[in-house]
Symmetry: D2
């Protein structure tokens, strides 16, 4: 089986790289992956997958941090001019940019893989030191860039789709390839979970490219993700002339100031570290008008779900009381969230075993870094249903390719990865899936 | 009529002074005027008045700032040993220390007069420069003193009762002599009003002795009283070990601190000056225990009822929100209140006219001083019913009596007044009442 | 003399109206009155006045609320294309848009008049109901409008300049015509005072057109102005990743929130009403970055200088302490200020007398309205030096002109005045000045 | 050597128990151990030790949380009547209740042991279920009780002193027996350290009895102590009548409320858990008086010295800024402090080895519990000088003695220990000391 996988991989490798370069050239931010998702859907359909997209795979009320309708429409139109598939783009309208490809053969376990597709609000480096610029596949969407590697995830997803289709007869069960929007800001996973996409899944594999590790290095079971809630709070009061009629105002700024002080005063929890931050506050209009609107950008974190939920619950209580204090109304807008989750050891060990078989030469044990990932929502659902899940790190440091030591960090204009890492991703994920089917076949 | 009044006054003057000295010797603080009120009731009954006392003239739920049951009982027993009237003291048990004497003859207007009876928590001067000490009628109740002149008001009330009874045949209508407890802290008037004592009153006369003005000076219509609300707020949270289980506490001190900051931040009102103060805060137990109880002493004021009610309402909203913020419960205890009120000009001018007739030699026009008086509750009820009310200032400066310039301020251990002022009080109030009855006779 | 004044006024009236319409068409906001002030200077020079302008009449460090250099330059260039006088515009560069015209004859008192020149950030009504639009002199500077009548003040100033020059031989003393920038936001007067412009003035006359009063109504001595301080406070802290390195941040938002709560808690003053408002707060960048910069727009007011200075001083103390609390730096930028001031009764009575002589038919006594005017800085300097000052209200309601009852309030897009009021302004101010010179001649 | 130690221990065991019962009967709280310390000093002297006491072994400015002079004097006099040694009590006056006994023989390492002597403010159980009550050695000092076992520590110290003196010829170096006052509230150790008592120490042994572990169980190297700072903050402002002169007050309660909110808002530290608590706040006098004094009881903790120092430093900054904000003065009173410290593994292993030799039958590995101990100050000094230190847990659960399962927790009225544990303490500490001397002899 490994041999078969190796052969197909070698055959399609350069095509997958060209996919990646295409996605890189046309980056789209969260909930606006109209071109990307429509091309993914088209390709999956062409390969023979059953394709679900749009409202079938995303529950509207859980789509967090959606851009304005105007922005979505502008981005949709741009996608159309940039070669998005018109048929599938209809289904994605309004930001419903999730796609799932399904391949079924006989009965057996359901193996899902998750690929995130969104880019970042960041202007790509225009230096010729930056290979995408030098080789002509840098972003042409100004101020938007694939600087976190989701272009490689999406392209790898299409490569895996092709390999698995060729191996269809050996599959005993179901493959679900989940292409998720809006991972940045941890906004997109929850709505796919609540839409039911993960309900029947027994095994979940995620992966993330990493420029910290060498090509060929694998971290079979990443973990230590912090749970987080990202949300906006808006106090709405009533304006009044501060000199002439101070008693007529409902001062939203006083509500906001009270909230800020008390939010930071939420007590620590004995069961784990927590964080809270009010990163931004915009309030008021004129100097002598009592402020009638205050808008806060807030984030809570916790090293486990329990303490994260604790600090979020307290924050909401404090915000409500702060609104009441000056007779203001409060609006809370969820803008993103993720869970704290660990990869299952049992599945990670299986990944590690297969990794050796496909020739990945070393294995990194990932420690907690306090970051957040919304695949945790999917892992939580699978684990809750008795399944196993793991998120796999794939080394893709550029040093070997360019002949000098370098770490190009994510979320920077110079970010780049070694495309030679694709073969490891393709081989590893398909081989793990096939190993699962074999065991259950 | 003036002649008759003069004669009776001269006859009884020394008795009234001896009454005053007796009350001065046995001072009792608000809601504990058991001896005073029972002797007043006894005397009114002996004179022939219909006497109402206790629960008949005080509505329990509006009695503000009551001492503890233990303290009331201790004071009640002391009163008994100090010569209180056992019969009437039964009715006064539990702090119901109000008394009303009624004298009716024919039909006609109802003329009420109010006399307050309570003393202060203050240790009287033991210096022989202080006449009560020198002449042996200083307080024997340690730490309690008549330092605001309510002993003179009570004694004058009994003198007026005697004169009016002698003039009974000339009365055409009803006289109500209202002896009120707990004026200090503006605690007692409201409960007499809500018990209905003022419901039928057409004319209300109050008076207050003043050491600022010379004997014989009269202020016929004092006013400019600030409205006020005095109350305690108690936050009840939950204790927890601050180091081991910080998340289990409900921090009453954080609620209190939030409340304090926001109470002082209540906006000014364009219709008049307001004040707020948190005078005292007691919170918590041990250094490392999350505070589970915080007790605040609060007072709001306003130069008119509208702005006073505004600042009080805002304060309650802020306290409620502050409790909610840390999941604490809030208890509000009313401890005193008064209204903003002006004397009726029409009645004050009648007082001024009579004052001249009885030989009071000059007239002070009282300006607002931002103080509070709870006779305002009674004035408000009378005025609201279409009646007239005035509060009269009676000069009683001691300078003439002792032959040197001195102002002995109220609420100090050295406070004293010129007892020669009694005759003005007795003559003026009875003459005004008789003038009213004559007009309606 | 009145006759002479009347004649000249009638002769020049239509020219002054055309000046006004020109200024109205090219409105310029505070510190950008490049065209207006340069044309004023040119006209004064042409009339024979000694002209001072720019840095001679404005002290740089007291020029409050200056726009950015970029904005000043854009406005300067616009003024040039719109017919500003190139010679005088050199002196005004950088916002130094004050002009003073001096006329001296013999020795005698110094009589100053103040005219403010700036427009507002407001888009003028484009309705043909609005006469300036209908008759073609509405603002062509988008978003800028003379909606407070300063265009009429400036034009009146030029008319008065012309009349006085014709009467030069009857002047015994010195005339100073002060054309002030940036009255809106009370920003410009102080810098003219500290530049010494008022140092030798014995009599100061200001005037303000009012759409509330009928044409011909005069308020000879307006007053009751509140003192005010308008300023920005900027807290500068240090950013840090709120999740990873919370201890490295210096949270400017916590400083700001602490400041807001405590600023509103500044106690009332027993000597007069005060106000404080934080109208606007802008703080922070990203949701999970500790806020490193918070910008507050603040205003304090007081019904007299003493209480105004009290609340301002307290505010600065609180801001300093709030900065210290989170190790932030604090920058305070003065953005405007005015004093509390009353017109001198003696001078107002003189104005009233003259008003009758010129045929102004009724007299309004202006009550305090709690507003602010920075002529108060000039009045304070003159009064402090033993001189007399008054600010005169000039009725200019449009009802008579358009034949229906209407009040067009200032600072609205529809504001307009009856140009028939010019003759009253011209006659009254020149007649008062000449009366002063006569008396001292 | 072990044999010798065993024999002496068996001989003196019952005497040591009687010492313990004597100390238990006359408990004394921190800085008032006049009787206890004087008897310790006397006994050490009688045994032949060089004794230092009082100011020789305590630096006055570092003595934290001293009672008032009045209380110290009362306790001193009580100690005299209860059999304190008059000679040594002179040296201890004023709370200087530390004692050090020194035994030197030849040259070699300095081995110190620390014994704490103070009792708690707690009323001992009067139930006959409580052995000290039943057997007549319960506290006769009302409201004071040895409920943490320091009586056993002190008695064990005297037993060890006797054994070591008998083994003097085998000692090659110096023994320092340190009897420390005021461990409760972590108040006493620092002043002994800064007085230089630990400067020459190479090995430090502490021990603490534990009712959680069985008799014979040993924890050779306890650790995980949190660092802590306990202190009082007092804001001193200025009183004023809140209604009449609000501007004259300096509101200490507003400073305190601001401090409370901001203290709880101190950000977490990425290098370890921190805690802060304001356990108690007492502020103000009368309802309508602006508060002029606020007293806060505060405690900070950190799981290591670095984060503990961070949170303490931030707290002081916030308190200073809060005082400044209302022009109050701030006084900080240190009331206790301890360091975070671990026992040295090398020394703990030596203790474990010896423990086996003396027949202690099992070994508990102590985990961190977030508690505080001020022996950490002594450990820090020794470790800083290159020495080794360990704090040893000694099991003393009462279950075996009374024949039923029971855990009598410290700081409760029923606390008691199995006196059969003494022999383990005596043998273990002397054997470890002698082992050190042997190795260095």
């Amino acid at each position: 089986m490994i041999d078969k996988i190796n052969k197909i991989t070698e055959r399609i490798e350069s095509k997958i790289i060209s996919y990646r370069r295409d996605f890189h050239r046309y980056p789209e931010t969260g909930w606006s992956e109209f071109r990307t998702a429509s091309l993914v859907a088209k390709r999956l359909k062409d390969l023979g997958y059953t394709v679900k997209a749009g409202r079938e795979v995303l529950k509207e009320e859980d789509m967090m941090g959606l851009p304005s309708e105007e922005e979505l429409e502008i981005n949709w139109k741009r996608a159309l001019t940039q070669g998005g598939d018109p048929f599938f783009m209809e289904a994605l309208k309004g930001g419903f940019t999730g796609v799932v490809g399904i391949l079924e053969n006989g009965s057996g376990p359901v193996v899902a893989m998750r690929f995130d597709m969104d880019a970042l609000d960041l202007a790509e480096s225009e230096s010729t030191d930056h290979r995408p610029t030098r080789e002509g596949f840098a972003s042409i969407n100004k101020g938007v860039m694939h600087a976190c590697g989701h272009d490689t995830h999406t392209a790898a997803g299409l490569g895996i789709a092709e390999i698995l289709m060729e191996l269809k007869e050996h599959i005993h069960g179901k493959v679900k390839l989940i292409f998720q929007p809006a991972e940045e800001g941890v906004r997109g996973a929850k709505a796919m979970v609540t839409a039911g996409v993960l309900d029947d899944v027994n095994f979940l594999l995620g992966h993330h490219i990493s420029s910290k590790w060498k090509k060929g290095e694998i971290s079979p079971g990443m973990g230590g993700y912090f749970a987080t809630q990202k949300f906006d709070a808006i106090f709405k009061g009533q304006a009044a002339h501060a000199g002439a009629k101070p008693e007529e105002g409902k001062n939203a700024l006083l509500s906001a100031a009270t909230a800020v002080l008390n939010l930071y005063a939420i007590p620590e929890h004995s069961k784990g570290a927590t964080r809270i931050n009010v990163g931004k506050l915009t309030a008021g209009t004129g100097r002598n008008i009592i402020c009638d609107r205050a808008h806060l950008l807030i984030e809570t974190r916790g090293e486990n779900d329990r303490v994260s939920d604790y600090v979020f619950k307290k924050a909401i209580e404090i915000l409500n009381a702060s609104a009441m204090m000056y007779d203001c109304r409060l609006e809370i807008k969820p803008m993103g969230s993720a869970r704290s989750r660990e990869s299952d050891k049992e599945l990670a060990e299986r990944v590690e075993k297969i990794a050796k078989e496909i020739g990945a030469f070393s294995f990194v044990t990932q420690k907690s870094e306090g970051g957040c990932e919304d695949i945790t929502y999917m892992m939580a659902m699978v684990q809750q249903n008795g399944g196993l899940a793991t998120n796999i790190g794939i080394g893709a440091n550029l040093s070997e390719a360019i002949g000098k030591e370098v770490i190009l960090r994510g979320h920077t204009p110079e970010f780049d990865i070694d495309e030679g890492s694709f073969k490891y991703t393709l081989k590893l994920l398909t081989a793990v899936a096939m190993d699962i089917f074999k065991g259950n076949g």
